[in-house]
């Protein structure tokens, strides 16, 4: 399975120097203070720097001024507590086409993002969701803060099985139903749902104060619409709806165009709503995704 790659040293080494930027810095809960690397308000002195006009005079080091007659500003390490929940779509559509292993690819990306998230000692968990109604499933790992705990994700990955329908809005509802402090919610999915579903999901998350991020996953063959020419009866693996189609060069080009349009619509929505959006089309482009697409999610070196 492709997800096994998430635990390979080479892959992790490539992520070592990356960190996740969070727009909202939350105060720690009582007794649970965690230090981050970002500059900000805090109580632990980090460094001194030259005063620049406009700096808050509250941070001016008066002792240094009196002793050295030089204006120095004290900087502190910020205190932050951001819960990062990475939600991976484990519906049936993530299992097709079989040779694309979209689910494995999505789990690999989720693991990579979790590893990056741990760089700030933020509590990170990975959840999978699928189904709707009574069959809705939302399974998540415990929160892990330190990279030493990264290997704890492995048993969870091994237990993930795809199946059921995709209902992003229901998954968001399940997350919000846990009534945890707002944090970062990333959705890793193929987003092969109607616009209403993913719009509802992101709107709910944003309304609850979550910082939402979207990772749009598709398989190599799926994104290239690589099917043999001929007449087929295609069946939706989630709904069971059957449709007769004919494949030829022209039809395949039309399908590729529809995929691009669908992705553009999603990206446009995310842009409008302030949702970070990254596109991961093809497991063969994993390195390319890490380099080019992860920065769109606030990942920086």
């Amino acid at each position: 399975m492709l997800a096994a790659r998430a635990f390979e040293p080479d892959f992790l080494r490539r992520l070592d120097g990356l960190m996740m930027q969070a727009r909202r810095i939350r105060a720690p809960r009582a007794g649970r203070r965690v230090l981050g690397r970002s500059q900000g308000a805090g109580i632990e002195l980090e460094d001194f720097r030259e005063y620049a006009p406009g700096d808050d005079l509250r941070f001016l080091d008066w002792n240094a001024l009196a002793r050295l007659d030089d204006l120095k500003i004290r900087t502190f390490r910020p205190e932050r507590q951001i819960e990062v929940t990475i939600m991976v779509d484990a519906s049936a559509s993530m299992g097709l086409p079989a040779d694309d292993d979209k689910l494995g690819f999505a789990l690999t990306l989720a693991a990579g993002l979790a590893y990056i998230g741990m760089s700030e000692n933020d509590p990170v968990r990975i959840a999978v969701f699928s189904g709707h109604g009574p069959a809705a499933r939302f399974a998540a790992t415990p929160f892990f803060r330190r990279r030493e705990s990264y290997a704890e994700f492995r048993p969870f990955f091994g237990a993930v099985r795809g199946g059921g329908e995709t209902r992003l809005s229901e998954a968001a509802g399940l997350l919000l139903g846990q009534r945890r402090a707002p944090g970062v919610a990333m959705i890793v999915s193929d987003f092969l749902v109607g616009p209403g579903d993913y719009e509802t999901a992101f709107n709910d998350l944003l309304a609850a104060g979550f910082e939402a991020k979207a990772v749009h996953v598709m398989g190599d063959r799926e994104s290239a619409v690589d099917y043999p020419p001929g007449n087929y009866r295609v069946r939706d693996c989630e709904t069971g709806v059957v449709r007769d189609v004919s494949f030829g060069p022209r039809e395949m080009e039309e399908c590729r165009r529809r995929i691009a349009a669908h992705a553009e619509a999603l990206a446009d929505f995310c842009k409008r709503r302030g949702v970070m959006y990254a596109r991961a089309f093809g497991a063969s482009k994993l390195d390319e995704v890490v380099v080019n697409e992860f920065p769109r999610l606030g990942v920086m070196a």
């Binding site: 086409p97 092969l192 001929g230 939706d236």
Partner: protein, 626 residues
Amino acid sequence: MGLLNPANLLYALSVAALIAIYLRARSRPTIEVSSLIIFEEAPAPVANSRVLRLDLPFWLEALALGALSLALAGFYFRVYGAAGGHRTHALVFDLGAAMNARGDDGTAFDAARAAARRVIANAPEGDSFAIVTYALAAGAAGAPTAGRAELNRVLDGLKPTDVAANPAALRAALVDARAADTIDLFANRPAPPVIVEDAGLTAPPRFHRVGANAANLAIVSLDPGVPRSSLGRALIRNFSYHPQTCELEITAGGRTVFHSGFIIEPRAELVVPFGPVHDGGLVEAQILTRDGLAADNVRYALAPSIAQMRALVLSPDPGVRDDLARILLAINPNFLVTAADPNLTNAFDRRQRFALAMLHDCGDAGVAADARLYIFPEPLLIGTKQPPILPVTGSVAAAEMRRRAGVGELATPVLLGPARIVKLPGWMEATSEGGGAGERDEFALTAAGRARDGAVGMIAFDVRNHLLLDPDRLDALLAAIGTIRRLIAPPDVMIEPTGAIVTAPVFARAALLAPDGGRRMLTPDRWGRVRFQPLLAGRYTLAGGGQTISIYANYYDAGESDLSGAAPPAAVSSSPPRAAPAPAAGARHYHARTIGTLLAAAALMLFLLESIVLTRRAARWSARHV
């Protein structure tokens, strides 16, 4: 353009089957996709494309099957061009006795050879020739070659034999030659149409009739008579439509016993009595008059010995003893026959050695004889210590003779009495065969052979009730006489017809000297016998193992010796009206050129191409239905 085997075009139905399979396979496969969002607006473009949309593998398979069907149907082009080039020719030669018929310009075979050389000379350079011969059997004289020197060498080495040309051999020769583009048949008479048809020739062979009408006399048979007792007889036949003079000389033991000339009527036979000869031994009759065929002008026979020989006839049945004694005396009146009942203790002098012992339904204990003839052999008795020479393995209540040596299949099987089935030792040969009445299994009814301690014969059927003297069962008597003659014949002289398989017990490697001076070594089989087939009339000498055996081969065949057919002169080769003339060098004409091999090769290439296409698709799509 045409088809050699149009019926095979039925194989083209495989293309229809392919279409049916293809259309069935073209029914829409169902594939599961992640979502219909991608395919929502891409329905089947047009309904008829579901049926008629054909892809590359289909066309490749259809073309391959079509090519194979055409290859099987014998698709050919009519090509106009120079005859020859790389064409193949078959020269079929009759090597039967009639090809030795001598005319003014040599033998018929000389004319055949000259005609063949003309055919070879007229053929373009590069044409290859296969030389096939037939007489008793068909055979190829060397490998097909285009070398003129090699062909001349092979032609020079061919010699006619003194046997009648076998129709089955002619058929086999034509079958051997049918792969050639042209077939030239050199014979003194045309091949029967039924044989040409049986050989499956696409075109009749070009027939070159060789040999001239010739007057021919033949010695049909020679009966030496009984020395000093009865006259011998020679039967002379005139095959000509004119009266012929004949000078006949008969010698016995090196002495001339008859020499006279006479005139034989057209197409008539003349019985010439002579003798009686003075001594037993070889009798040779020879026509001294020059005629068409020399091989049938000499005939040999063996006169019975005049030496008094003792024979013993043992049988519990007095009638059988009487019959056997009569037959034995008829064959050679110089026999002194002792007939006795084996159940009587002092029936004959057991110290006496006999030239021949005929043992009917009894054992041979205490009998000293040079030759033994077991009639209705006694089964192995309980308590007998020494196994019998001829073990009896079964019996039938009534046997019937179906086949006899020298005659072949009998027109009507001869119903015999009870018979015992004997397991013959390897050194014995069956001279007549048959089986139980109404049964299919066959066994030997009469047999003869020679072991180291003497000759042994066997008659499996019972001869009680005067069976051998019954005129309705003459074949039984003739088989018995033949067996007795083999037993009493001198071991160093044999008279055989040409073409027969001669078996001689020499118990060592032996040198065979043929009448034409040819010499070859023969290796004995596990029973010490050497075998050969005399193809020339005359005397063969077999020397080996400290003994010398003279084998005299007689030739006569009524069909082959009849040279009076209305044939054109030998110098002119002719063809039947349907036959095409020999192609001249550089002559151009239409001929069929089959492309079966090309079509088969094309089909293979198409299948290979299809495999490549399918493999690439499978690798690309990784889908089971590809």
